[in-house]
């Protein structure tokens, strides 16, 4: 990730940023443009939207058809550039989901 580490808390305290901060260490599922998904623990994000996941597992369908079974592979720590991200989900309870959706 480029730039210096922001070791001090975000000064202006944007509520959106604090909400995203609460998602740290949660299970995050990121889809990328070639159809694969990566599931890992949310570790870091920068202004450009590049995400780092820890203990990530790659899911990849072994056939082109939508119902294809998926194969998995452990990758460890990965960086998903914002440009190739196509979806981003976190694992949460239904109540929480409502509040997450109500933000925007």
């Amino acid at each position: 990730m480029e730039g210096e580490t922001a070791s001090d808390p975000i000064a202006d305290g944007s509520p959106l940023v604090s909400r995203v901060r609460k998602l740290l260490f949660r299970r995050m599922l990121v889809g990328v443009k070639d159809g694969r998904f990566f599931l890992g623990s949310f570790h870091c994000i920068d202004k450009q939207g590049n995400i780092i996941l820890q203990d990530a597992v790659e899911y990849r369908s072994i056939r082109r058809s939508p119902q294809s079974p998926m194969e998995q592979r452990c990758l460890g720590i990965i960086l998903i550039p914002a440009a190739c991200r196509s979806s981003c989900h976190v694992d949460c309870s239904i109540n929480e989901q409502m509040s997450l959706l109500s933000i925007i």
Partner: protein
Amino acid sequence: MEDRGGNDVPASIPSGEQMVWADVSPLIAAACNDLHDGELIHGENFNLFAAMSALEIMDPKMDSGMERNGFHSIEEAIENGAAPIPLSLDRTVDVQRCIDVMDHLLSCEATWHRGHSLAQTVFSCLYLLRIERTSTHPLLHSYCRIMRSTCDVVITAVSDARTHEEEDFFTTAYSLPLKGDGDEKCLSLLNSVEETVSRQLRACKAQASRKKLCDGRGLELAKKHVMSCLSELGSMSKSVEFLRSNAGGPSDGEIECRTTASGKQPFGFDANINSRLSAPTPPRAIQILSWKQAIEFFEKLLNDMDAIFSLPLDLSLENILQFLVQFQKSQPDLVARAHLQLLLVQDGKLYGKYSFHVVISRALVLPEGTSDQAFQENEFVVQLGQLTINLIKILCTNNAWQRRKLGKILQDWGVISIQLELAFRREFDEMLKVSADEILFTRLSKRLIVWAEEKTYWIASRFLLLGFQLELYSPKEYCMVYWYMYVIFVNLLEKMQMRASYPVDDSRRKGKKKRDLAKDVGLESGVCASSSCMLLQCYVYISEGLTMMLAALHNERQIFKISSPFNSEHERFIQHFELLQRANVPPHISYHLFMESTTHVRISNVVKHNYFREVQRILASLRGSFAGDSNKLLELHQLEQVIEHNRIALSVIDQVGASDPSLEIRFEFQHHPFFPVAVVKRS
């Protein structure tokens, strides 16, 4: 945003219990908007350094799982008809396509030998990956089986020899299906298929036989096998026109880079299908060798193998070392070198036949009365045997590796020579329980010491000479290099002459192989040894002559002088000869000594001394003794050229005056790999 995953999470990735996947993309996008440049959202355990090592998804150099618009799996590729069996319902087309597959596989195999991964080369073949599918197509099936077991055999040989470096060769097969039941019988399978094929399809007969020795009962058989493989490669080359005209493929210009003889793209290959298997290395874009290059590659490999199989099995160690040096000159492939090593050292024995104490005792000409048992158990003999094994193995590696290791083992050889010197009398007195004949022990151990020292100097000379092949010396350093070489050659020559002077007492030899041994020893310490000594004497004079010539040019013209502010001459001396100095080879050699012997040299002295004239005299008398040895004769010729040119150059410099600024002097290795020729020009 076009995407295949969409916002829908596939059902096969479950969320936690009582949990759902909530889309956070909008939240993240908005939050990122609020972030300042360079700001990150991260937890307390975040470590930027660790984060730097993250694997970057969708980076083609890091992400081996990236989809490349190809098939997602072997199964999908096969279901989509990428590797049909039969290759065509039209039998003629089927055969043509089958040959294309074989050709391409051959190119893949050669590419693999050149250091690319198995997964991206041979195993890019869908037929090979699902070999059981091919069982209805006997020709393709047998070829795939042979290919698979050949890869397995080669990997085993190379891994056993352990002379490969990471970039040389990928012995790692990851999870590729390399072994299959019944692969060891692949040759008979192939034979039966060939019979059928030659009955059915005469035109394609030449294609069915495969190279490589899967097993060999003796070197004769192996040689025959190599010959038949070479002739098969020949007939394959001849079949090009036929195959090409049938295929109606691309034009001649384009065909050069094609991987098949017909010039057609083969069926059933997907270079990306295994990209995930090549992890942790990211998949690299590779170029498969062309069919023509592949044929040339295998021809060279087979010729190298033939040279190995032609090596007579009763050679003395000296001859083996010479053979190894000579063999390396042809720059043999890793696979050939691995086989040579495995042939020479098997189960800790030479050719798997002679223990190394026997090999050493042959070279020593043991005095009568030496107990074989005691000799064999002597700790120095055991150690020297081990050192000799290591030496042979090292001489089978590539040049760079060889030089590194030779520098290291010099120390061991140096140490053992000193230990021998210190301990021999007492040790041998106890070990060889022969009548208290002090003279015998002295003679024996003296021989052992001389032998060990001779080998030490031989290793040192090889170490220095390899520096030329690896281009490690700059012209400014030639003077010190030739000076050191001169010193080493002088010492080596001294030891060789001492050994050659041993009386050949074959009448007193005992043991079963009496006649063999006597013949061998007689040959070695007689004619051969004396001509080797004379050749070495030439090296001594040439090195000395070059040293003096270079030193005079330093002194009188200030050329080839090290004047770098970074590295003084003394520092370079240490850099080049540190390993030799540390091993004390030869003893009492220092930079100081080098300076002493070169600072006062003038061109006129060099001319007067006429080192090169001496060499010419020896060379003339050597011709006769090397008659029949083409390699040696070639070298004599090369040395003559070196001498002649340098002699002329020297007299020109002397006549014109070394300090004449219009003279332009360069040293070039056009005639000999490690003795240059002075090229003098007037501007």
